[in-house]
Amino acid sequence: MGSEEEKKYCTEYTGYEMMLISASRQIKANDIIFNAFHWPYLAVHIARLLHFPNLYTVIEIGNIQDQLIKPTRMPYSISDPVIVPNSLFIGDSVDVLSVLQRGEITLAFLSTSMIDKYGNCNTTVIGSYDKPIYRLPGGGGATEIAALSKKVIWLLDEHTKRKFQDRLQYITDPGYLDGYDSRIKAGYPPDSGPEAIISPLCIMRFDSKTKEAYLDALHPNISIEEVKENTGWDLKVAKELKQIEPPTIREIEVCRKTMKDAIEQCYILKPEWITYLEK
């Protein structure tokens, strides 16, 4: 993002677009990424198109890949057969679990229905397990991705108290569990765990001691109050609160191209996320 051209900022964009772009900026060239379905896939796709065409990614179905799909194309999901002849490795879920368990994933993106202040997530059930109010689809492989990746970044497309809860009744995906050293005591690698939560409003990170999520950086034109009001616990704020750079023209172009391609592949993006898509 060095040139003048690229630095020209976009002024009209949605919080959802900002979330995806913010996520894509977290990636480093040498990351080995766990590439999960949906919003995570879009964020990684944007990073590939913008900066790192040769990013190494692993998906749960058993693929390892280090370049864009050719001809350039958005897979409809992590199981699109177009992925197979674009892979450096095809194995099975057990092979992929081995990559996770050996601690080789440096960064994973995941999305979820709800998260708590210690970065634990629930994609299983609202209400009791046996007599649920709402039954959610279930966690799939997110449990292991959350448990074993060195850094996990959670994407939540809606920043509300319903989504950001103090503590959860049911944990599908382990974060810092009860905070402090409870994750390490449970046996997870000391260098693993949630790294950030990115929403349309902000980026949260985790306190190095208590492991509680705090407000680390605000997306443009968002206030501390707005974030605090929509978060289900007494959110602490970083001493040196950062301001996120708005999307550049280039970033927004790539983001919207990605979203368009996603819609063509049956991704449902809410109307308020795609306000500017046809402009």
Binding site: Y76, G138, G141, T172, P174
Partner: protein
């Protein structure tokens, strides 16, 4: 053997049934036959339940599912039969035995290996391990005898009967797949009875041309069925692409019970077999979904 004969003969009410395929080579044809034959109280296991499980739940075939999620991956959108059954007991209550994706894969692996359990490094601290489950399907902790560390272990799963849909098999049942194998190799070999359906029945010579692609051998296979398009609406690498429209619309078309009953009549109970199903699908759609050739991957086996 026809699919009807195979399901009638080898799938009994109350049995644990493995249905293979991870978004590729999903045995929809077999599942629809279970519905037509009014199979009941099947205990179904599969890494990712998806709309296959949703249909079997809605048709009343199962009262117990063992999987890591059940949704419509296109959208993504909810699957209504699954939600209706769990939230409201329609058509009846079912047990959802939640697994994580890799947990159920390792359980199949342990079943494949003929060992009672296998360690996994996840699950600790989650509600998946804490929630009461049927004995034999719940992870637990043991102390590693070498390192002393607390280690999570998952039990083996060995289903009564397994069904996979593959690209090709010979007439004796040596079955081959390529592309995404998912849990197929581990799951199917862990089963006591095995049904294989295939897009193509090939000569054994073809099997021996790339023996690494074999996922189950004939000495274990009870039935082999030639069933072209048996995996629609999901993909079969080298044969057909995923039917995006069909999958996407599924959630809309099954939202109410009435809609679901119409859907079921149109695609399952109103047809007699896969060939009639394909007539409903229509030649035009079939032609559109057909894969373009991309024949590659030969290597030198010379010696």
């Amino acid at each position: 053997m026809t699919m009807k004969d195979a399901i009638r003969k080898f799938v009994n009410d109350g049995e644990m049934v493995f249905l293979g395929g991870f978004a590729h080579g999903i045995p929809f044809s077999a599942a629809h036959e279970m519905i037509r034959l009014k199979k009941r109280k099947l205990k179904l296991c599969k890494a990712s339940g998806g709309i296959l499980f949703d249909q079997l739940i809605g048709a009343g075939v199962t009262n117990h599912i063992i999987t890591s999620h059940c949704w419509n991956g296109f959208g993504p959108q909810p699957t209504w039969n699954y939600k209706r059954a769990i939230e409201k007991g329609i058509p009846h209550k079912i047990i959802y035995n939640e697994q994580s994706l890799f947990m159920i894969n390792m359980s199949f692996f342990a079943g494949y290996m003929g060992i009672p359990f296998v360690p996994i490094r996840s699950l600790v601290g989650t509600s998946i391990i804490e929630h009461p489950k049927e004995v034999g399907l719940k992870a637990t902790m043991v102390k590693c005898p070498f390192t002393g560390e607390n280690t999570c272990v998952v039990p083996a799963i060995n289903p009564d009967v397994g069904i996979i849909h593959v690209q090709r098999a010979d007439s004796e049942g040596n079955a081959q797949m390529w592309g995404f194998i998912g849990e197929n190799k581990y799951g199917i070999n862990a089963c006591k009875k095995i049904i294989v359906s295939a897009e193509e029945i090939v000569d054994r010579k073809v099997i021996m041309e790339s023996p690494e692609r074999t996922i189950v051998n004939s000495y274990k296979v009870d039935a082999v069925i030639h069933e072209p398009w048996g995996g629609h609406p999901y993909s079969m690498q080298g044969f057909y692409y995923t039917d995006l429209k069909y999958n996407f619309n599924y959630t809309k078309e099954t939202k109410t019970i009435e809609d679901w009953e119409d859907w079921l009549e149109k695609w399952v109970t109103g047809v007699n077999d896969r060939q009639e199903y394909l007539k409903v699908l229509g030649e035009k759609r079939i032609k559109k979904l057909k894969a373009k050739n991309m024949i590659q991957g030969a290597v030198d086996y010379g010696f």
